[in-house]
């Protein structure tokens, strides 16, 4: 079972739910949590474990071999990301912009643009008493999160059995990294907050999930602030509301100390139980 915890809006509680839900489920099952918010991973702040494996991750980018190049300009013409630019008698490559699509390399008539691995980040695997935790961390200055996210998912898929519950803490938003973090999962939990901002971004996330033909449900965090518009929207659209987590200052206090919430706040544990029962009933 693979579950992605996503949201449209940032700061709604993805990491809070991911870390607490994984710890809660790990009491009675094999669980791995992967932090796929590789541009700013923070789940590790709540998980103390031993490092058991780490590796550098790379993406492939073209390298220009000047000697064979006829400066025909085909590479620049086929790159839709402006990563390959012909300037005078030079081909300039901007690796940060490259999406590793191989078009320039494959279509170069003289084979002057071989694809070369370049490090973009790191993968780390930690173990706690009963939970596995995997983190992707993009190097500073790198612009492409997707190749790293896909390598972290690949690692989790290879390393853990079908029976392991796999939780993916996704980045915020609705762009390519979120799609990469969501598309292979059995279910997506969209975490939102009952405010106009929360609703606006939830709608965008819902549209994204519908395009992906992805099964999803909503968790309303900080329930009690703002208004009822999220519930009205979900009811009108037939979207399941899996749990409502009451707004509680103590949650923020525990979070700020890097502590898990559910061992100390009963209402939070009740919400996790509802989420666990809901996702346990899927398939």
């Amino acid at each position: 079972m693979k579950i992605t915890i996503a949201s449209g809006k940032g700061g709604t509680g993805k990491t809070t739910i991911s870390t607490n839900l994984s710890s809660y489920l790990a009491i009675g099952a094999d669980v791995v949590l992967a932090d796929l918010d590789v541009e700013e991973p923070n789940s590790k702040l709540f998980i103390e474990g031993d490092l058991v494996f780490e590796k550098a991750c790379d993406k492939r980018v073209p390298r220009w071999i000047k000697e064979e190049c006829t400066l025909c300009g085909k590479c620049e013409e086929v790159c839709r990301f402006n990563a390959v630019i012909k300037v005078g008698d030079e081909i300039l490559i901007f690796p940060e912009l490259c999406h590793s699509c191989y078009a320039c390399s494959e279509l170069c008539p003289t084979g002057s643009l071989p694809m070369i691995p370049q490090k973009i980040g790191e993968l780390k695997h930690f173990k706690t008493e009963n939970l596995d935790f995997v983190e992707g961390r993009l190097d500073i200055g790198e612009e492409q999160a997707v190749p790293l996210i896909s390598q972290v998912i690949e690692y989790v898929d290879e390393k853990f059995s079908q029976d392991t519950i796999k939780l993916f803490d996704a980045p915020p938003g609705t762009s390519c990294p979120v799609i990469e973090a969501s598309r292979g999962s059995d279910f997506v939990i969209l975490v939102t907050e009952p405010t106009p901002f929360g609703l606006n971004d939830l709608k965008l996330a819902v549209e994204t999930m519908r395009v992906l033909c992805q099964k999803f449900g909503v968790v309303i965090n900080r329930h009690g602030i703002g208004d009822n518009s999220i519930e009205e929207y979900c009811n009108a659209e037939g979207i399941p509301i899996i749990a409502k987590i009451p707004n509680d200052r103590r949650v923020a206090e525990l979070y700020s100390k890097g502590e898990l919430i559910y061992p100390k706040i009963q209402e939070f544990e009740t919400a996790l139980k509802q989420i666990a029962e809901f996702v346990g009933g899927i398939k």
Binding site: N82, A83, V87, G88, L92, L97, E143
Partner: protein, 116 residues
């Protein structure tokens, strides 16, 4: 001397565009024959990435002596621009093209310094 301005219009009275990569228009003034012309940079509007690179390429092809803009190009665009002989001046983002030209003549514009 050939001077290029990043601008939102085609004439001396047009407001400058403070952006380099996504400027609407490059206004080109040729001091030798006192002629004002322009080229559009509108194609960068729909580019998600690399707008600055394409804009820099246009400037390279215009081969000016001076570029006058607002904020200055980013590091990737600079990678291309440093292949030209152009000298860049910034801080003219709130002026008209004419005002920017006069400010340049009066030595009131700062030379662009790379931040890397």
């Amino acid at each position: 001397m050939k001077i290029v301005f990043t601008a939102k219009g085609e004439s001396w009275d047009s407001p400058m565009d403070p952006r380099f990569g996504r400027t609407d228009i490059f206004v080109v003034y040729n001091e030798e024959n006192d002629s004002l012309s322009f080229i559009s940079n509108a194609d960068t509007e729909t580019m998600e990435h690399g707008a600055g690179l394409q804009a820099a390429k246009k400037v390279l092809e215009l081969s000016p002596d001076i570029l006058i803009t607002g904020n200055g190009p980013g590091n990737k665009a600079l990678e291309i621009l440093k292949r030209s002989k152009v000298t860049m001046y910034v801080g003219a983002g709130d002026m008209t093209v004419k005002e920017a030209y006069n400010a340049f003549l009066a030595g009131k514009l700062a030379k662009f310094e790379s931040r890397v």
